[in-house]
């Protein structure tokens, strides 16, 4: 049953005028189907293997297909693996240069353009400010909640160490953890599932041009912020850095629109920016501001946006994004300094503070570089292992743990188990260290240690992850013994792997850093032990940093931006080279086994994501084979009834319609569903315009007011009389859509999509007649698998 007997269906319908974006055909009659067993091809280096996992339950697939003759919708138990899902719409980054647009541009004065430019800067400043403020709130809330929790548990443990009954402390800890996590999971699972996880995959998709439903809503932001506070305070193996990036992006999307649809409040400002292109620019600024607030790394933030959303880019935008980043880290800094009663002291730039590596002992030498590379390779291996385990776990979750109440229960269980494992580790640890004079341990637990000493395992487990990372980096040599570290690494690795993908909002940065820092420090200690005078140069803190970089690089596979983020977060430029080498090695080694964690999750969500390049061996595919055809087209002057029928056909949820010259069939424009809906809503009919001469002319503003939540076609009432009216689309359609000839190769089409951020690409023949339409999903279906080019199935929901 391996990868054989996978049907590939090719279908076409002569009479149907459907087409456009997605084309499930429901009531066809003269259906021509070509069904073929790909198994035949596999011997010949087959092209259409749809991965192993998607071939489960083939029997069912067959029967349902047979029972629904002419009905190209079949049920299958494919779990988001190698499937493209139709709920995802594309964003429209290509500006529609219709007549309204040209008119508006004509009306706008030189001063108006200047004002726009200035307001872009103002918005970027606002984005930075608000993102920094949110980061500050998260930080303070987490500090306090976790502080209260650890204080209570600590008091309890101290009490029960003396009189006996430590299992009660264990239960208390587990219950507190679960309670926090329950709150976090409930709001995510029941109110806004889009806020789950770190949000980086979603933002990656958004910048790539996929409109993930509800990803940049105010509600998502609120749930995200509350959720991350709960999950970090709940002691899960998570960080608050990833969600910051999502929060920044939501802030950007909200601020740049000058209104909140959720709150039904319109400030009547920034109306010009109410379209996808402008919004995307601001969202990339928001993501950068988020990174910058999370790590205190403004340049890293800019590079993150560049690396993750680089299909569009210009220099002025870079400069603006940098501005937003700087403002964000400055704001966080400023408000934290006020909170810490040191107003004006701007020395805590990020949510996570790696502390400073400044003394002479942390300098590195040439002979250490091979060691760093070895660490990078180890990080790549461990990262790949992490990703594979998480991949399996996520598939299991998608299949079996998909009901919200189950998801909440799972999160609570993970929280309880995390507390239990931590407690058991601390309880059975014999590693006692003397209390330092500077009280670097925030919640020292004595337990069975001698008076004046603390349990060293507790510094790693009985603490928020950020602080654990910092103590691994900076505690003096000898603060941890190797056994403690190896046990910690092992448990935390599995805990973190288990935690990522739960229905709570939580990031993976900090746990990765923590795992890496633990084994890196272990490496440093062992190195110092086995080499003569190793204790002089093998400073554990330095190796902890390299280990952290390696592990993080091995899991998320970011390159340039991660290097800069690490360099900025440590504030030490001299570590640039080793960190770069470590990340490079980690990426190479990791990519050999499996892709990065974010890409895995993007794939599992079945998002039509366009990677940097088209699949390597796809030049033989032409637009003709890729495109959807035939296409639903409209005439330049179309009957309202036809339009309403096409739009309300639930089975063909098309979004873009080529406009053609009647009879000849030559293309003369492209119109979007959203535009048509606005037109229908305002009843822009030829007859009405004729009878009512005073009618206000529709402006671009009317389209913008409806953006981004255009009403569904069902909410628009069109009377029987009106159905007979005609609608003139000339003024509103995009008169110059991009078109390609049928013979264009897939990579060429791909490049157009990627570089221009297209949504629809019309395929025309030599007579300029519309023959097909290529959309993002048609391209994203193809990917390079183990056996050459593979094609994915499309699925609803």
């Amino acid at each position: 049953m391996a990868n054989i007997t996978k049907k590939v269906s090719w279908s076409s319908r002569g009479d149907e005028s459907g087409g456009g974006e997605r084309t499930p055909l429901l009531n066809g009659s003269e259906e021509v189907r070509y069904t073929r067993q790909v198994g035949l091809l596999s011997g010949e280096g087959g092209m259409f293997h749809i991965g192993r996992l998607s071939t489960v339950d083939l029997e069912e697939d067959m029967t349902s297909d047979e029972s629904s003759q002419g009905h190209h919708v079949s049920m299958s138990s494919i779990d988001g693996v190698k499937v493209c899902v139709c709920v995802f719409q594309s964003l429209d980054y290509d500006n529609s240069e219709n007549q309204l647009f040209l008119e508006e541009e004509r009306r706008m004065s030189f001063l108006g353009f200047k004002c726009l430019e200035i307001s872009r800067w103002v918005i970027c400043g606002l984005i930075g400010f608000l993102t920094g403020l949110i980061a500050c709130c998260i930080d303070i809330a987490v500090e306090n909640l976790a502080g209260v929790k650890y204080y209570v548990v600590k008091q309890n443990i101290e009490k029960f160490t003396e009189v006996g009954g430590l299992s009660i402390s264990l239960i208390l800890w587990a219950v507190l953890n679960s309670a926090f996590v329950m709150v976090g999971a409930v709001i995510v699972a029941f109110f806004e599932p889009g806020a789950a996880g770190s949000g980086i995959p979603q933002i990656k998709c958004y910048l790539n041009g996929v409109k993930i439903p509800r990803v940049v809503r105010l509600k998502t932001l609120v749930v995200k912020v509350c959720g991350v506070i709960c999950s970090v305070a709940g002691g899960l193996a998570v960080g608050k850095e990833g969600p910051m990036i999502h929060s920044g992006a939501v802030v950007a999307a909200g601020v740049s629109q000058g209104r909140s649809t959720s709150l039904k409040k319109d400030f009547k400002i920034f109306e010009y920016f109410r379209r996808d292109t402008e919004k995307r620019d601001f969202v990339s600024a928001g993501a950068a501001a988020g990174v910058s607030a999370a790590f205190g790394a403004p340049v890293g933030g800019v590079l993150f946006s560049l690396e993750e959303g680089a299909s569009f880019w210009n220099q002025m935008l870079t400069w603006r994004i940098f501005f937003a980043s700087m403002i964000s880290t400055f704001t966080l800094n400023f408000f934290l300094s006020i909170y810490n009663n040191k107003p004006g002291d701007l020395s805590s730039p990020g949510l996570i503070n790696f502390g400073r590596f400044e003394s002479d002992s942390v300098a590195y030498n040439l002979y250490e570089i091979p060691l760093f590379i070895v660490m990078g390779a180890a990080g790549g291996l461990l990262g790949a292992l992490f990703n594979i385990l998480n991949y399996w776990l996520t598939i299991f979750r998608i299949r079996y743990v998909h009901r919200p109440c189950l998801q909440v229960m799972e999160a609570m269980l993970v929280a309880a188990v995390t507390a239990t494992v931590s407690f058991a580790m601390i309880y059975f640890s014999n590693d006692c260290q003397p209390l330092g004079p500077d009280q670097s341990e925030d919640y020292p637990l004595q337990l069975f240690c001698a008076d004046g000493e603390y349990n060293s395992m507790a510094t790693a487990f009985f603490n928020t992850p950020e602080r654990s990372v910092r103590s691994l980096f900076h505690n003096p040599p000898g603060s941890y013994n190797p056994l403690t570290l190896s046990l910690f690494t092992l448990t935390y690795f599995f805990l973190a792997c288990w935690t990522y993908g739960l229905t709570v909002s939580a990031g993976v940065f900090i746990p990765s850093l923590l795992i890496g820092a633990a084994w890196g420090r272990l490496f440093g200690i062992l190195l110092a032990a086995i080499t003569p005078n190793g204790s002089v140069w093998a400073v554990p803190g330095k190796y902890a940093l390299m280990g952290a970089a390696a592990q993080l690089g091995g899991i998320v596979r970011m390159t340039l931006s991660l290097t800069v983020i690490m360099v900025e977060a440590t504030g030490n430029v001299t570590y640039g080279l080793p960190i770069m080498l470590v990340l490079l090695t980690a990426k190479i080694v990791g990519d050999y086994f499996v892709e990065g964690l974010y890409d895995i999750h993007i794939k599992l969500q079945s998002v039509p994501f366009l990677h940097l390049e088209a699949p390597a061996t796809s030049h033989w595919l032409t637009a003709r084979e890729v495109m959807g055809a035939p296409v639903t087209c409209f005439n330049r002057i179309e009957k309202v009834g036809t339009i309403v029928d096409v739009l309300s056909n639930t089975s063909t949820n098309h979004n873009g319609f080529p406009v053609i010259v009647p009879v000849l069939g030559k293309i003369c424009g492209l119109i979007l569903r959203s535009q048509l809906i606005v037109l229908l809503k305002h009843k822009v009919f030829v007859e009405l315009a004729r009878s009512r001469l005073t009618q206000r002319k529709l402006q671009l503003k009317d389209f913008r007011d409806a953006y981004p939540r255009f009403p569904p076609i069902q909410s628009i009432h069109v009377s029987q009389d009106e159905r007979e009216c005609m609608m003139d689309l000339t003024e509103f359609m995009n008169p110059t859509p991009y078109t390609v000839p049928q013979e264009t190769s897939l990579p060429r089409v791909f490049k157009l999509f990627r570089a221009l951020g297209l949504r629809h690409l019309v395929v025309v023949d030599s007579e300029n007649r519309v023959v097909g339409l290529v959309t993002r999903k048609d391209l994203a279906r193809y990917h390079l698998g183990k056996h050459g080019l593979e094609e994915m199935q499309l699925a609803q929901t």
Partner: protein, 310 residues
């Protein structure tokens, strides 16, 4: 003349900058006063000995002795020499005291008196009040040369004093120990006496009998820690006592409840297994509707593909 004055002023300013960076600990008000025109002249005079002409004379004590005396205004006055001698005396007293009180640490309680004396004489030297004969020893003793030995010596002692945080144990005028410290010492002695009493024989008796006093001591210590009234003496004695208690007498808490902890932990670890198993068995798998997209007339393309493959 005017030009000369300006040059002198500039040199003086330069030197002033240097002096300020190197003698941070010197009373800032004194430095501030030097900004007056009067002070500037004085500074210009100080610049002179630093100039290369005088360099060879800095070599050794011998060569200095061989030279005939410096002109009047550069020589150190008798009064200052006297002060210096007293400084040396008190300095060695203090250092002796420190060394003898090094282990177990008693530097604050034993040596605060001699430190007080040392501080007095140094204040005397560094004050800008004129002594008899209208001489100030501040400049001649403290800042006439690159090494600034007197300042350096005193500075070291001051560092030791601040490092040991003796100020929190000694009353403000350095005349006596604070009441807190005395009280702590008393409590400590109480504990130690108790230890001594039960030292013979079974330690478990000691753990039981001395627990109250020891805990009282511990609580007092943590209170003092919070108030920041700890000095090295108290910290060290507390450390020793704790080590006695935990290591020598073995009175720390035993790890006694392995069984309940293991039981509760394994129960907790068992829960997710049940959860996943039950959701695996009971929850129905999510189904997906597959859609087969329309493609262009595929006869040709299918043939094409097969052609290309073969």
């Amino acid at each position: 003349m005017y030009i000369f004055q300006v040059t002198a002023l500039l040199i003086a300013l330069l030197y002033y900058g240097n002096a300020q960076t190197s003698t941070v600990a010197v009373n800032p008000t004194i430095l501030g006063s030097e900004l007056s025109a009067d002070g500037l002249k004085q500074l210009a005079a100080i610049v002179a000995p630093q100039s290369p002409v005088f360099h060879p004379s800095r070599g050794s004590y011998f060569s200095l002795n061989l030279l005939s005396a410096f002109p009047e205004d550069l020589e150190v006055s008798d009064y200052c020499v006297e002060l210096l001698a007293i400084f040396g005396q008190r300095y060695s007293t203090y250092v002796n005291c420190l060394v003898s009180a090094a282990r177990p640490v008693k530097v604050c309680q034993n040596c605060y008196g001699s430190y007080d004396n040392l501080m007095d004489i140094y204040t005397n030297i560094s004050s800008d009040q004129m002594g008899p004969g209208n001489v100030s020893c501040r400049d001649s003793l403290l800042r006439s040369d690159r090494l600034m030995l007197v300042f350096l010596l005193y500075n070291n002692m001051e560092d030791i004093w601040t490092g040991s945080e003796c100020n929190s144990c000694v009353s403000l005028g350095l005349h006596s120990l604070t009441n807190d410290t005395l009280y702590f010492m008393a409590t400590l002695n109480q504990s130690l006496r108790c230890f001594e009493k039960f030292q013979q024989g079974n330690h478990s008796a000691l753990c039981k009998e001395c627990k109250a006093t020891y805990r009282g001591l511990n609580e007092l210590y943590s209170r003092m820690e919070k108030n920041r009234t700890l000095c090295i003496d108290i910290e060290d004695s507390m450390n020793m006592t704790r080590r006695l208690w935990s290591k020598n007498f073995n009175c720390s808490f035993p790890r006694a409840e392995n069984v309940p902890v293991i039981a509760v932990s394994s129960f907790m670890l068992f829960l997710p297994i049940i959860f996943y198993l039950s959701s695996f068995l009971h929850s129905e798998q999510k189904k997906r509707k597959l859609i087969h997209p329309k493609r262009a007339k595929s006869n040709t393309s299918l043939v094409n593909i097969q052609d290309r493959l073969s």
